[in-house]
Assembly symmetry: C2
Homo-oligomer: 303 residues x 2
């Protein structure tokens, strides 16, 4: 079921968590890792990440049955171009990017006919990044969205089984729909959290110290979201431009409607809006996607 040899390209939070989750699952295959930065490779070697750490892309993909692109989305095209001549025929190439259309357009054309390209997106993360941020439980009960396009059914099923062994649930999705759903549930929430934290910092009439000292629940959550990896998120917004701008337009419309209600003192509109959003939270609890407990499901470790 699993892959005899796996290559992880880019050793950040996701790839390092994949390695520890593979170990936890008892997978026997060899895992080779590569990172562009010598410092990251050094750290990986020091903490025992992967069975071998390679110093070049050519080396890491050699004989690999599964090649995982886990770099920022913006460099995946260049990586694909470099590894293409060295891929083993019959290998599966996948990625872990948060956007799919741009990845498929950047990576797909470089890959030879002899490999299977099965894009994927594990929806899991923390505000920490780098090879030391990974942990085996990261994907437990999270979704890994698979965007199979025209890939071979056996290759898709094999990758799905791999992700389920790592703790994730899998679901197949059409590429356009994937990018829109993710803009709604992840990309735009991150953008507005970043914006709000930026506003707070920029206000001359409220000191940094006050913002930090009195940061209440709402804002504190935002700062956590806004501490996520800048490179990753820059690439998400640059590469999911269409869906991002669509949802951002809708968001601005709604925000202006609420702003107008505040300005005109229209309490009924505000009350109705806030009552309605409460229902959505209930739906999420009922669907088991979060818990009502004080830790909000973040320390769940069931496998």
């Amino acid at each position: 079921m699993s892959y005899p040899r796996v290559a992880l390209i880019g050793l950040g939070l996701i790839a390092s968590s994949m390695f520890w989750a593979m170990r936890r699952a008892g997978m026997q295959g060899h895992v080779a890792g590569y990172a562009r930065s010598a410092e990251t490779r050094e750290t990986a070697r020091r903490i025992g990440l992967c069975d071998s750490i390679c110093d070049s892309l050519e080396e890491v993909v050699k004989d690999a049955d599964l090649v995982v692109l886990a770099t920022p989305v913006g460099v995946m095209g260049r990586v694909a171009e470099t590894i293409a001549p060295h891929l083993k025929p019959g290998a599966t190439v996948t990625d872990v990017g948060s956007v799919k259309k741009a990845v498929i357009e950047a990576v797909g054309p470089h890959l030879p006919e002899s490999v299977h390209f099965v894009p994927a997106h594990p929806m899991a993360g923390t505000e920490h990044s780098g090879p030391e941020a990974g942990f085996a439980q990261l994907f437990d009960n999270r979704w890994c969205l698979i965007v199979p396009e025209s890939a071979d059914e056996a290759a898709v099923a094999r990758l799905e089984a791999f992700w389920r062994a790592l703790g994730a649930n899998t679901e197949r999705m059409d590429v356009e729909h994937h990018d829109l759903v993710c803009a709604v549930v992840s990309h735009i929430p991150h953008l507005i959290a970043y914006t709000m934290v930026g506003v707070a910092d920029d206000l001359r009439r409220v000191s940094d110290q006050e913002v930090i000292k009195f940061s209440a629940a709402g804002f504190r959550d935002f700062t956590r979201i806004a501490a996520s990896d800048p490179t990753m998120w820059r690439d998400v917004f640059l590469t999911n431009k269409e869906a991002t701008l669509e949802i951002l337009g809708r968001f601005t419309e709604e925000l202006f409607a609420l702003q107008r209600a505040i300005r005109t003192g229209d309490g009924e509109t505000l009350f109705d809006y806030f009552t309605h959003t409460r229902e959505i939270r209930r739906g999420i609890l009922q669907a088991g996607q979060d818990t009502d407990a004080p830790d909000f499901g973040r320390i769940k470790t069931e496998t």
Copy 2:
């Protein structure tokens, strides 16, 4: 130091938590409670909330040394008008509202010269509301902002000692500054979380079921914030209109700048912005206002 007789008006999350925190602190005084709804009074009696539950405002404030207005901000003026003739001379009247200028304007004119009015704002809450939502630890290590205006120093110091005994830290603040700081760290973050959840629900191309099923970290946090009490938040926005609209204006400016960077593909602006917001998170962690642990400080119970 404490008050021999305390009256809690409005038996929601804050007042019920105050009662349990008073008990935990070993305060010996009598606590009388009142809620407008007969059902809430019944629930309070059933769960042992307060030493006595009164059926009228006149009754609950009789002989009280401390009267706490813990209703939605929008009705505090009417409550003050009703209780004014029945207040004991020398009593302290306080409130727990999230805005201060509007409360002072609504409540202040009704109170007799013989009582001390010391507005306060405990910055603590959860997404749950009602008399059964309270717990003794709610205020632990949270800030209670005191807006003393021209109140008697002894009365202010006594209320501060009371809040510290309930677990909170206290700080005095000017009324205008209070409303601006809270707009930044609490009110606007709530408004944009409400908005984002509303947008997600309203999209025709993404089903409710998908929004719920795939709700990732950022959005899940937003739904929790957006599940807060609709009446309370309606009143916050209606009564802190000036600061809310100011910060909302700044937020929109920043969001448009980031939107423009996305549209024009300006990755440098995005990267710099996201890198900068990361620093603010570090400041909050260093200030001890949150933890880096997976539960994000929410299950802290130190007293």
